[in-house]
């Protein structure tokens, strides 16, 4: 058994003590008393664990933390922050894309982060390119490119490794890299040796993974993260990138353990542009926005739907989500209760809305009776449609899986082929035909009637009162087996109101944030954290992602880890 593992488990902290002489006045895991138990006692925090002291959290309050590899998104951002001022190009493109599944919709899920030889190849290629780029002059390393001294290299190496590895470098870590440097220098000279060191760091697990070895408790127990581990979790949660100098300083001084200082750091991080783009990335995965700008529609039926309109529809929903969920101009309830959207002149003209006079996006009221939130936006209505017709199955499945967090079962084996559109019948007629077979109805009764209630939105995202058969749109719908969202409704506004007031939807919003934040699907042992995120508050209308993040950061699930 590794001694470091044991020591941290019993709180002796000798391992970090050994690096204190390297300039880090660390707050080692065993330094009890720095943080009063329960001092962060909001949102489900039990305060049960002292730093570095193994404890057992109550049932339903675990803090499991499977090892997480940097996603391509995080990897590219981390490299950019590690080498500020360099144009690194699109570093993620030679590395295999991240993996998602039908249920695990975010690209950062630990269980899907396996590594193949292709990853090894890609990481090597990027490391070689970056190392070559940053060693052409002395700007980064401080060393003459071809004739630097070993002393110069060592002076560069230590702070570089500590930034790249996001923890104080151990003497062993530095010695291993230095030995590699020396052997390459003997055959290829200083510059290639320096590059070899940088390449090694950029391919090492300490860089590619978010390791938390210092806080690893014994099986079944929980401990508080070290300040460096907490700083790393925080910066990747809010920024999708490595901690900056100020956050590292807060970890180093021990200040991060103080609730006020932690809260101040969260506030500071949220103000940075990286926070905004990181959550834009969350929203685009959650609500499937990436495909929107590439939508095509049949030009005969929808002559006004251009690629520019598709692009603007994506922009509309991104702007809406940023303003209402992140910029303090709304809250989570607006997601489904907004009677407004954001549009510029071209998009407002397309929708037939009054308002904007310029190319800038601004808040635009929807006509009376259309309180739709995102359900009324083109990014949703046009994406979940074919190029010619609406697609109530896709719309219903979106609501079911992305807003209600229901896992839809796969079709049973050997189901008969679904009836196909003839082009003249309505989507409702087709759905009724489809659900006449009991094997199909078992699932499609859960899906189709939700989508059928949205038939006022045509395949190109425009409000319509008349269906393809020339008759008024029949927008009767029903949510079956949807907890407090269950029941019949007529039209998109009634569905939006039903979903907007539903605790099941609120729990789903919490669950999606949990998945994004922790890189895994929550289980029965995560009820504390989920409950804290989903709890209704008096100021529900202003509950946005900044507030949700504060809840998440102060939860035990975030500050502790359970083995």
């Amino acid at each position: 058994m590794n001694p470091r593992f044991l020591l941290s488990g019993v709180g002796l902290a000798l391992s970090l003590g050994s690096v204190a002489c390297d300039g880090y006045v660390s707050a080692p895991p065993g330094q009890a008393g720095r943080q009063p138990p329960g001092s962060l006692g909001t949102a489900g925090s039990t305060g049960a664990a002292l730093p570095g002291v193994a404890t057992t959290l109550p049932s339903g309050c675990d803090a499991q933390a499977p090892l997480r590899r940097l996603t391509n998104f995080e990897y590219a951002r981390t490299l950019q922050d590690l080498f500020p001022g360099y144009d690194l190009g699109q570093t993620g493109k030679v590395i295999p894309g991240d993996t998602t599944s039908r249920e695990l919709i975010f690209d950062n899920q630990a269980t899907l982060q396996g590594v193949s030889a292709q990853h090894v190849d890609g990481y090597g290629k990027v490391a070689e390119r970056v190392a070559a780029l940053v060693t052409v002059d002395a700007k980064l390393t401080g060393c003459e490119p071809t004739s630097g001294s070993d002393d110069c290299f060592r002076t560069f190496l230590k702070p570089f490794v500590e930034r790249a590895f996001r923890h104080p470098a151990s003497a062993d870590e530095l010695a291993r890299i230095t030995a590699n440097f020396a052997s390459v220098k003997a055959t290829l000279g200083f510059q290639e040796a320096e590059r070899a060191a940088i390449e090694r760091v950029l391919q090492s697990p300490q860089f590619l993974y978010r390791l938390e070895p210092e806080s690893l408790p014994t099986a079944g127990k929980s401990t508080t993260l070290t300040p460096y581990e907490l700083a790393t979790r925080l910066s990747y949660l809010v920024w999708g990138s490595m901690p900056d100098t100020e956050l590292v300083a807060a970890a180093k001084s021990g200040a991060l353990a103080e609730p006020d200082a932690l809260a101040a750091q969260v506030t500071r991080l949220l103000r940075d542009a990286r926070a905004k783009s990181n959550f834009d990335y969350l929203f685009e995965q959650w609500l499937n926005l990436r495909a929107v700008p590439n939508l095509n529609k049949d030009l005969q039926r929808f002559p006004r739907f251009t690629s520019e309109i598709a692009r603007l529809m994506g922009e509309e929903t991104r702007t809406f989500l940023q303003r209402t969920l992140f910029d303090g101009q709304g809250g989570v309830p607006d997601l489904l209760a907004a009677n407004f959207t954001y549009a510029n002149r071209a998009l407002a003209d397309y929708y037939g809305l009054q308002g904007p006079a310029s190319d800038a996006f601004e808040k635009v009221p929807l006509p009376a009776g259309r309180t739709l939130g995102i359900l009324g936006q083109g990014a949703f209505a046009a994406l979940y449609a074919t190029d010619k017709t609406t697609h109530p199955i896709k719309r219903g499945a979106f609501v079911r899986m992305r807003l209600l967090c229901d896992a839809l079962p796969s079709p049973p084996a050997n189901v008969p082929p679904a009836p196909e559109f003839t082009g003249t019948e309505t989507a409702r007629e087709l759905s009724v035909k489809h659900r006449a077979a009991a094997t199909c109805a078992a699932c499609h009764d859960l899906i189709d009637p939700i989508g059928l209630g949205l038939e006022n939105l045509d395949a190109a995202g425009i409000w319509r009162d008349t269906d393809v058969d020339g008759k008024p749109v029949d927008a009767a719908g029903e949510v079956l087996d949807g907890a407090d969202a269950t029941g019949a409704f007529v039209g998109a506004s009634e569905l939006a109101a039903k979903l907007g007031g539903s605790a099941k939807v609120r729990a789903c919003v919490a669950k999606q944030l949990f998945r994004f934040g922790f890189g895994r699907d929550p289980g029965p042992s995560d009820q504390c954290a989920l409950g804290a995120l989903a709890a209704p508050t008096e100021a529900a209308q202003t509950l946005d992602y900044r507030a949700l993040l504060r809840r998440l950061v102060t939860s035990d699930a975030f500050r502790l880890r359970t083995n």
Binding site: L67, G97, T100, A117, G124, V184, Q203, A291
Partner: protein, 453 residues
């Protein structure tokens, strides 16, 4: 000019500059005389299955006397090189047609190793790469329906950018002239030293992986150990590539260059984001197929997969003479019956797909390999994860081409009558057996497809 400079030039020119025709006359040096047995496998994938109740794909007639369908008639010039298969179904648990059919089919339901990877591991060949994964408008991000190769449960990413694929395969040799591959002894020595550096860096990465894996829990340790295993796999490839550079008589493929003149002025695709349609699909497909042939000719891999789009594809076909130019691939599969134009458009698309298969077969036939051609030493199999487009696992329109007599070609094999058809696992087992790889079991099946040889 040193090969390093060549390589840089190629990179900086985005690959548009260097073009040389792929002359068959450059090819035969790599031949291993007297070794005429089949030694390569290429799985070639197109989505969307077949329009089964219409006479477009499956042949009519007997095993040796049959007529092709309207779309498959495109393959008439190579009819004698092919076996057309009917009545073979995806025999693994069905699951969701888009996210589950493909990984289940390719791995025999285990979700661990796909058939191409099992065969690649079994071949233990001297080629540089155990396998190569080509893509045409495949997604950068992996969803289960978007990958057909899996190794130890990790989906392998097809590379959709011809420039990147070219550099992946040929590395420092890319664009270099002459035999040995790198003629300038000084340039060769430096490249070898750089390769040594790469090895030492990777050895260092293994040390770090080993170091940290002792400080994590058991689950995380398994993942770090798998990462280390991937590093060791890649080190083998690097070692093989390093050896190739110094060979005085390598499996000569002339001067490896990428002919992308057909893409001049166009976007070279770098992987679709989230199922995006690629406007110049046809042109990129041709360059990638040329590159596949080049890679096989140079013996860079014995196993390759070649994937067009994916299940649930959003690809449109505006480059073809069709009416519905905004309709996506997946919707054609579902709704081709809604109008005569949709139906005839879908047939045009199927014909185009067949024409790309035809071109690949003809290109392989044009390259000598030992006593025969590259087609003789290669088993090329057209696969699909479903049969009827919307969306049955039955009657997958498999076509087997080449193999130099491993299987008797020029036949139509219809298994539909024999007790509900045969599971595809039997076909995959037969492929493995014919390549000398004995798998005792694939997806719960232990015998090959009857009547294939």
């Amino acid at each position: 000019m040193s090969s390093t400079l060549n390589r840089r030039r190629l990179l900086s020119a985005a690959g548009f500059a260097l073009t040389l025709p792929l002359l068959p006359s450059l090819a035969p040096r790599g031949a291993r005389a007297a070794d005429s047995a089949v030694k390569r496998l290429v799985l070639w994938y197109q989505p969307d299955g077949d329009m089964e109740d219409k006479p477009y794909w499956f042949p009519k007639g007997s095993e040796d006397n049959f007529q092709l369908g309207q779309a498959s008639a495109v393959l008439e010039p190579i009819k004698s090189d092919c076996i057309f298969v009917h009545g073979v179904h995806n025999g693994t648990p069905a699951g969701d047609c888009h996210s589950d059919y493909m990984p289940n089919m390719q791995t025999g339901g285990t979700r661990k190793d796909s058939i191409d990877q099992l065969i690649a591991a079994g071949l233990r060949s001297s080629s540089a790469f155990p396998s190569l994964e080509f893509g045409v408008a495949t997604d950068r991000e992996a969803t289960n329906g978007g990958r057909l190769s899996f190794k130890a449960g990790v989906p392998l990413a097809p590379e959709a950018d011809p420039n990147q694929m070219f550099l992946n395969i040929f590395r420092d040799r890319a664009g270099s002239a002459g035999t040995p591959a790198i003629a300038d002894p000084q340039a060769l020595q430096r490249l070898q030293l750089l390769q040594t550096k790469r090895q030492s860096v990777l050895d260092g990465v293994l040390v770090e992986l080993n170091e940290v894996s002792s400080r994590v829990n058991q689950e995380d340790k398994l993942r770090l150990d798998a990462h280390a295993s991937a590093v060791r796999d890649f080190e083998k490839t690097l070692t093989a590539l390093n050896g190739r550079m110094a060979e005085s008589a390598p499996a000569d493929c002339g001067t490896p260059v990428l002919d992308v003149s057909s893409l001049a002025g166009q976007q070279v695709w770098n992987g679709a984001l989230d199922n995006q349609s690629v406007p110049n699909l046809d042109k990129i497909a041709q360059v990638q197929q040329d590159l596949l042939v080049l890679a096989l000719r140079c013996d860079m891999a014995r196993v390759a997969t070649f994937m067009y789009n994916r299940s649930l594809s959003s690809q449109t076909f505006e480059f073809l003479p069709i009416v519905n130019k905004t309709t996506i691939s997946h919707m054609f599969a579902h709704t081709w019956r809604i109008s005569p134009e949709m139906e005839s458009d879908f047939v045009v698309i199927k014909k185009w797909r067949a024409s790309m298969f035809l071109k690949l077969v003809q290109a392989l036939k044009a390259v000598n390999d030992g006593a025969g051609t590259l087609l003789d030493s290669t088993l090329l199999v057209w696969i699909c994860e479903m049969g009827l487009g919307s969306h049955q696992p039955t009657n997958i329109p498999f076509v087997i081409a080449g193999g130099g007599g491993t299987f008797r070609t020029g036949r139509f094999l219809d298994y539909a009558g024999s007790g509900g058809g045969e599971p595809h696992m039997k076909l995959y087992l037969s492929l493995a057996q014919s390549l000398g790889v004995s798998l005792s079991d694939f997806g719960g099946v232990s015998t090959g497809l009857p009547g294939l040889t």
